[in-house]
Symmetry: C2
Subunit: 541 residues, 2 copies
Amino acid sequence: MRSCVFACLVVVCYAEMFMVDPGPLYPPTKGEVWPKPQYEEKENILYKFDKAQFNFKVIGETCVILLAAVVRYEKLLHQQQDATRAIRRELLRRNMRRRSRSFVTGLLQDINIELTKPCEAYPHLGMDESYNLTVEAESHLKSASIWGILRGLETFAQLFYPSENYNGLLVNATEIYDFPRYAHRGLMLDTARHYVSVANIKTNLDAMAMNKMNVFHWHIIDDQSFPYQSEAFPELSEKGAYHPTMVYTKADIKEIVEYARDRGIRVIPEIDVPGHTRSWGLAYPQVLTECYNDNKIVGLGPMNPISNFTYKLLEDFLHEVQEWFPDEYYHLGGDEVDLECWASNPYLLDYMLHYNVSSVAEFHTMFMERVLPILATRSQAIVWQEVFDEYVPLPEDSLVQIWKSGWQKEMNNVLESGLGVIFSSEWYLSDVKLGGDWEKFYIFDPRLHVEDKTLLHKVVGGEACMWGEYIDDRNFISRVWPRASGIAERLWSYASLDWDKKDQEIDDMETMRQRIEEHACRMVRRQVPAQPPNGPGFCVA
Amino acid sequence: MRSCVFACLVVVCYAEMFMVDPGPLYPPTKGEVWPKPQYEEKENILYKFDKAQFNFKVIGETCVILLAAVVRYEKLLHQQQDATRAIRRELLRRNMRRRSRSFVTGLLQDINIELTKPCEAYPHLGMDESYNLTVEAESHLKSASIWGILRGLETFAQLFYPSENYNGLLVNATEIYDFPRYAHRGLMLDTARHYVSVANIKTNLDAMAMNKMNVFHWHIIDDQSFPYQSEAFPELSEKGAYHPTMVYTKADIKEIVEYARDRGIRVIPEIDVPGHTRSWGLAYPQVLTECYNDNKIVGLGPMNPISNFTYKLLEDFLHEVQEWFPDEYYHLGGDEVDLECWASNPYLLDYMLHYNVSSVAEFHTMFMERVLPILATRSQAIVWQEVFDEYVPLPEDSLVQIWKSGWQKEMNNVLESGLGVIFSSEWYLSDVKLGGDWEKFYIFDPRLHVEDKTLLHKVVGGEACMWGEYIDDRNFISRVWPRASGIAERLWSYASLDWDKKDQEIDDMETMRQRIEEHACRMVRRQVPAQPPNGPGFCVA
């Protein structure tokens, strides 16, 4: 039935322009949810929304997260109604009255929000995000989890669309049962190559919530700058930040973590060690290894793995970070360690002789074996794939983030070792072309490439990665969205691409394009400056 | 001398971070002008700017364009001083006082602006943009042309930079004599695939002025939409615009043309005919050719070249466009005409038989031979290269815009025919990768590839082309800038790349990168959200 409703709309649209066929290339759908719900049935029964007569009613458990969400979504629907009416006035002013061909059955009255279990304090890996939503005169949203309620409210808001005469918002009678395929649906942002403002990080969290992504992986520092403002070691950012104003204070981090929590998004900090650490050296050169060439020091490399000072500083520093970020997981980094620098240092070479260290790579193991216990008091570890590749023993609940090419072999090796996988190799937003590449991200599904199907559940999810070389506050949001939306739907929705239908073609890429066209405009309407996804087109309120 | 001043600054900077070497990858220069002036000598004598004591004095001819420019640049310098002082206050608040190592010789007092000839009404091809600028306590800017004065004021403003302690703005004693290499330095924007707001078009004109670009080539309509709101034919945009609010009215166009004129920028409209015209067909299907397949009409193609209605409509329409755009040149388009549609139409085939037309391509000639005289009453023509390739006879002052690959042969053919060239093939901003590609644009110089050196002057310039498939108000500016700055400097400055030094390597790409890093931040400070050009880095006020 649902496909009928939308096919009809599309036919009307095409009929008018068949002979001429100007833009847009893909006319947006109306009220289609992104990412696509697991089970959804829409009927050709239309309800009208009137903000003066519609109520959000909380009928089960409640908490501040829920009440804040109700306020947000109520405001959003009110704004959308106002924006729609403003277009109508503009059209009338220009004597361009439009007729509405829709037959409206009745008025949308309430939505009853029924949370059946008490709220959890913070989102977490494996949290319940499922919900049931029935839209009719008296609508109903039900979930056993606050996180499911948040996802359901987002879905509810996405079902509305302006009537053809812009007289108001309409919604179809709809039945939805929904839950995610992958538990970990993340976006990694690098705030070290360029600083990104707190305001923009929050806008990005808004966009993630609109796409039902649930992990903000914050690659907060790197070689180039140290914007994390530690209270225990203030000199790190005083000397290592690009500029005194380009820091994240404890208050900023609290604000971001709570803003994310209110949207069901985990914030996982990454303090990348022992490589990618040059910016530490501005305040504490002694934590870095001196790299030698021709018996001369030529620069500073990765952290010094044989210095107790390194570990003492890390212990205090990492405990502070753990305290500021409540998530159970912590990203330790571990990528691209410059082993050649270690191999050039006479003190490390001496150490190898005395302590029977057979290869320089063992320093990576040694380093991680001292750092992992620091974290283990409170967090489980996520690491970049090199930590696994260099045979560092990892606790069994650790997750390995795969980012290099040759990922197929790597993924299966990690799974066979019993560890879990976060997939990123095919989802680098910082690569590739200027537009239209969301499809490339969309059609990739890591679970399709798992050999031992009993291990499918150990691919816990994936992350879109946005490295910071060519983005800052000016272009970050428009570059990420809606490109990351392709990844978001892949990770949430049970699509025709799923592994048991491996040979099936993507049956309806046209529909996807129309749906993401609507979704990009939806983001624009909600103050997320998403770029055009498909080619020629336009967004109105 | 100049190189010494800046080498010293760089050494100080590097010395502090040598061992650690974090970001930014290319520390920005201070007060370096982009595009680089032809002759420039800077001394190690520093003047301080104080807005309370500095005056712009007009000592020669004057006009509204000049007075408006003085107001703009005065405001700009005042804002920059205020922004610099705000940083100082912020640093003091954080107890991060900085010392200034600069020795300031004195206060900058006045700039005497001496225009020696009366203002021209509008900028034009071949206008005089040369100027002399001496910066010392009593500075002097002199030009025989209002356009030279505008360029000189921009240069003057770019010479200032914040002192190390952010106490104010400094400027070096400087002597500049400057003029452009190429007369036509343009940016083409497509507002048909996506609508771009008037506000953003004006921001883009600001950015063009900062880069001394002097032609806004406005590809205003295309197949996908018809945002030009004609007074003679209002139905064209009523039916052909994406949305009633997405149009350019006569008042909008006037506003844009005057805004551009005030910045020494020509606005050249392109109403692309006879192809790329599907959006005309929503209001006037009869101007388009019916394309046939299997004796059935399957759609509408290029304009109908044998219908008198087409030419009558074009005559009235194009005269209106000419009236609204005062430039002497007019872009007629002429690219990618679908000859197959013409070849499928039985009426055209009939016509060929009766009138002895030997090939379908001759319809293109026929079409242009009727349209060119319509324009000739007031304008000279610019056309895309296909018009030349399809042997359409062109008046001798016409310019051919080269955009395809195989441009070397094409360019030399056009030049040998006696026509002038506008070059674009290597300067498509809508192609290629996400960042860092300004260098590819920068190192290309069309005159290097001209075989007959006596025809060099006939390569009048070039244009950066931004097609609209993947840009709209959300990302247009950050995608264009500072990528187009590479092209702007190539077209303005006499660089080491010039043809008589063909074998010389680009001697100092490092310096270019530092200079464009400053220039991108300069644009950001002036409300143009330029993206990062080079990799890791940051901008402060």
